[in-house]
Symmetry: C2
Subunit: 165 residues, 2 copies
DNA sequence: TACATCTGCTTCAAATTCGAAGCAAGTGAT
DNA sequence: ATCACTTGCTTCGAATTTGAAGCAGATGTA
């Protein structure tokens, strides 16, 4: 078994990826704070809800979508609810499940914050990229995303079903 | 002035970027925790120090490099020092400045953790990418990184030099 | 039906994070 | 030399985040 390693190009790509998203996130966070007093996580949650055809999602789906701990989501959902941006209701199908729904106020805030958000992302991330570049980038990231989503969270022993080999 | 906006391709690239790094970070965090009881931030700090020719950096440079608040860095540097992985010494040139240096123990831990780290990154991020893909990706990210680094932190009024227009 | 197990969410305590305030050392102008 | 301002780091309190533990509703099997 050879030592795992990354060649310089991979390493560079990896570092740049981390750095770029850190910087981007920082800038976005700032803008969201100023424009609507929202944290990035809160914005992501609202955006997801706003994108949904029904305007709502289950807690778990939200947590998974945003890559967030469940308890953290409970906390944030509480904040958003207190601020009147979302509502939590028991799910009809499943008594355990909680459905989170964005309110009109939530949509309004989202609309208020979005232009600035888009401006920051456009100016920071897409400024130095041509149209073709962006398409290339998107074409590269999509498979990676799918791969990551399909790969079991822990590389630790993807245990075989029941009566394994 | 037209409403700022992102076309669907840009939006997709942006979302994928955020999602990919979130998932990657999650996986890496897990590995680092198990392999060496290190947080991602701590690993980044050690890695930066290990990369330096002198094995050391000033606090501020570390904070900027990792995109981290100063107070947060003070906290983490304290933890790392308590664990014997780094040493803090007053800087010779500037009495205010503190130089952080990685210790042998720090290097040892870094070496212990690195293979697994590389394995995770390779398996998760680079698995679905060909050699050429990675080069393309690196070629796209580098300009973005440079652009972000050179753009003033706050888009808020990049005030003109002194006797502005 | 009764039991074991799983799921979905919340509560809890502990760790981390940030920004504001504070302090000491540098820098520059008078 | 002195004053005003900047820089580099730390301390402090408040907010956020997380994993473990707990609780109640579902699900599958006998």
């Amino acid at each position: 078994m050879p030592e795992p390693s990354l060649d310089p190009v991979q390493l560079g790509a990896y570092f740049d990826l981390v750095e770029v998203t850190s910087l981007l996130r920082h800038a976005v966070e700032q803008q969201l704070r100023e424009a609507g007093d929202l944290s990035y996580v809160q914005f992501q949650l609202l955006a997801r809800l706003g994108d949904s055809p029904t305007g709502s999602h289950r807690m778990t789906d939200l947590a998974d979508g945003v890559v967030y701990s469940r308890s953290g989501l409970t906390y944030q959902a509480g904040l958003l609810e207190k601020a009147g941006l979302v509502v939590r209701t028991p799910s009809p199908d499943d008594e355990r499940s909680v459905t989170v729904t964005i309110t009109d106020a939530g949509r309004a805030l989202l609309a208020k914050v979005l232009p600035g958000h888009i401006e920051v992302v456009g100016g920071l991330l897409f400024e130095p990229l041509s149209r073709a570049d962006v398409e290339t980038l998107a074409g590269l990231l999509a498979p990676v995303r799918d791969h990551m989503r399909s790969t079991p969270p822990r590389s630790a022993a993807p245990r075989r079903r029941k009566g394994g080999a």
